[in-house]
């Protein structure tokens, strides 16, 4: 298996082309600063949705506390950037935020992942609330309910893109590895997976902490891009926002999450002036998807599967 095979080179070229096109549009001021914020939101939401998809869609562990991990990354990242105030500091902040979130993910995951289904959902929700309350009360470090203001902005299109691309590649590779297959087998049938000799607890905690790791990255990027964070930004509603993206795109589909993140961010931008309507729209969207298409836009398929299918059928002819 060569690293530089045809498929990888094509992916790399596509990534570079995509980056340069958007960069060109930003430089040419076709994309103004208002739409730039939308793009940043899309990048951060993609990281969050794909990492939650790893936990909920691929491993089948329903988590309602993803925003909690995001907040850990956001605070760790923000505090590091504020104390160092350099690009290196920013990158270190992202890394520290991600590691801190992953660490908390392991600590939380080991006891709670023994629970199943709705119990796990409530336990993770409770964990995220506890994290929020702790940040709310660490007045000396986090400035309490008022939050941290004036975080230096080092996150730009370059870094947002790099981290989004790296997240997508790493999670995609993880899912295609034997570890990822073990996670998918847990989703399909936990008892069967266990009887095949898969250490289900180990893989569940692994998926959970990897998900937390990337949520931490997203949080750190968020804090640096939007200058300002406070504990209430990472409440129950934020977790629901992320869940909506995953469910809408399809639980178990990475490309689905990407499409859903883009579609929802665009819709949100257009509904900006009607904040109340936006939430009604979200709620209706959730209910309607669940009633009429519970598997989401793409289900467990990827967009690329469609192309593969076409090629095969051509050969048969």
């Amino acid at each position: 298996m060569k690293v530089l095979n045809k498929k990888n080179i094509i992916t790399l070229v596509l990534i570079l082309v995509f980056y340069s096109v958007i960069q060109g549009l930003i430089s040419a001021r076709v994309i103004n600063s208002f739409y730039e914020i939308t793009i940043a939101t899309i990048c951060i939401n993609i990281i969050l949705a794909v990492s939650l998809n790893l936990v909920t869609g691929f491993t089948g562990q329903f988590s309602l506390g993803h925003a909690g991990f995001m907040s850990i990354g956001a605070y760790a990242g923000a505090l590091t950037v504020m104390n160092t105030n350099s690009t290196m500091g920013f990158l270190a902040g992202v890394l520290i935020g991600a590691i801190a979130a992953a660490f908390v993910g392991i600590i939380i995951g080991i006891p709670t992942l023994r629970l199943k289904g709705d119990y796990l959902a409530i336990a993770t929700l409770g964990m995220a609330e506890i994290i929020r309350v702790v940040f709310l009360n660490m007045n000396d470090i986090t400035n309490g309910a008022a939050g941290l203001n004036g975080i230096p902005r080092y996150a730009n299109w370059l870094w947002l893109f790099v981290f989004t691309a790296v997240t997508l590649i790493l999670i995609n590779n993880f899912i295609k590895s034997s570890l990822g297959r073990a996670c998918i087998s847990i989703r399909e049938d936990e008892i069967a997976a266990e009887s095949m000799g898969i250490n289900t607890t180990k893989y569940k905690v692994m998926a959970f902490s990897i998900g937390a790791f990337f949520a931490g990255i997203a949080g750190a990027l968020y804090s640096s891009y939007f200058y300002f964070i406070k504990p209430d930004l990472f409440g129950f509603m934020k977790s629901i926002d992320i869940l909506v993206i995953v469910v809408f795109g399809g639980m178990g589909s990475i490309t689905g999450s990407i499409i859903a993140a883009i579609v929802l961010a665009v819709v949100t931008t257009f509904l900006q002036s009607f904040a109340a309507l936006r939430m009604i729209f979200y709620a209706l969207l959730l209910i309607i998807i669940m009633i009429f298409r519970p598997q989401g836009l793409l289900g467990t398929k990827e967009i690329t599967d469609l192309f593969k299918f076409k090629k095969k059928s051509e050969k048969i002819e």
């Binding site: 409530i122 409770g126 939430m279 959730l286 209910i287 519970p294």
Partner: protein, 292 residues
């Protein structure tokens, strides 16, 4: 000692409210295995109905309570028919997500129509205070406890002594077998939603009277805490939900009274996680074996 007794009084009145909400959770979970996230929002709508009835129609406490309970029961049935019935046979995660969607829908539709602001509930009960040595008891607290006890006695009567109660117990034990015995499962589920929602509506009015303020997002936290109460008591178990509600109410008032009130929400959730890890079936719940 006085402070302890005072906290006990406050805890019991708060706990009664949680117990009323928890009953709805536990009954619905018992019958269709669904955490009805929208339940906390039915309680919020109950509070708004109570507000409208007492402010605009100038009715007293008892009519407000009854109107709120009836309207919430109807709302509960509608929600069940529209959102949950089409999903009777789909995965539990799908139904849970629908319930979250329903909860958001109720919250933001209310916010759209009545505004996000906090409204103050009119005074429908006298503010008189009672003193027993150094302990203060508010008139509202007495009303809350009396109302809760009366409703729970009625509920116990319905569940244990009537035909529909028997049907409810049968459906929650084994849905298919109940259907074979000629029980109308759909009607029974609707009835369960109606009773649970009516209790939530009553809790909404009581909270409005007790705290004097209502807002469209008020249902979220008490809803989750009531769920914790239901889990603690053993989900699906009616006496368990009553005990659970009281325990959560007491826990919350004691954490606020002796510790830091900022940590009271965290304490409730930490408590939940500890229960789930030590005894997931709850205080009075039955252990279920996993079948392959």
């Amino acid at each position: 000692m006085d402070q302890f007794l005072q906290q006990l009084v406050n805890g019991i009145s708060l706990g009664s409210i949680y117990a009323l909400i928890a009953l709805g959770y536990t009954m619905v979970y018992g019958i269709i295995k669904l955490i009805n996230f929208a339940h906390g929002d039915i309680y919020m709508i109950g509070a708004y109905i109570g507000f409208a009835v007492t402010t605009y129609a100038k009715l007293g406490f008892v009519p407000a309570l009854i109107i709120s309970m009836v309207l919430c029961a109807i709302l509960g049935i509608i929600i069940e028919k529209v959102a949950y019935k089409p999903l009777r046979n789909s995965s539990r995660i799908a139904v849970l997500i629908t319930a979250i969607g329903m909860s958001l829908l109720l919250e933001y539709i209310m916010m759209f129509f009545v505004g996000a602001g906090v409204r103050s509930f009119p005074k429908v009960l006298s503010d008189s205070l009672f003193y027993i040595s150094n302990i203060t008891i508010k008139m509202q607290q007495i009303y809350i406890v009396i109302t809760t006890v009366v409703l729970m006695v009625i509920l116990q009567f319905i569940v244990n002594k009537t035909k529909i109660g028997k049907a409810m117990r049968a459906v929650s034990t084994d849905k298919d077998a109940a259907q074979l015995m000629g029980i109308k499962v759909d009607n029974t589920i609707s009835f369960t939603f109606a009773i649970g929602s009516a209790l939530a509506g009553a809790a909404g009015v009581l909270v409005g009277i007790y705290y004097n303020s209502i807002d469209p997002l008020m249902g979220m936290m008490p809803g989750l805490k009531a769920f914790v109460a239901a889990v603690f008591g053993g989900i699906g178990n009616i006496p368990g939900a009553m005990i659970g509600g009281l325990v959560i109410g007491l826990l919350e008032t004691f954490v606020s009274g002796y510790g830091n009130s900022m940590y009271r929400d965290a304490a409730v959730f930490a408590f939940l996680i500890i229960i789930l890890i030590i005894k997931p079936s709850g205080l009075l719940g039955k252990n279920t074996k996993e079948k392959v």
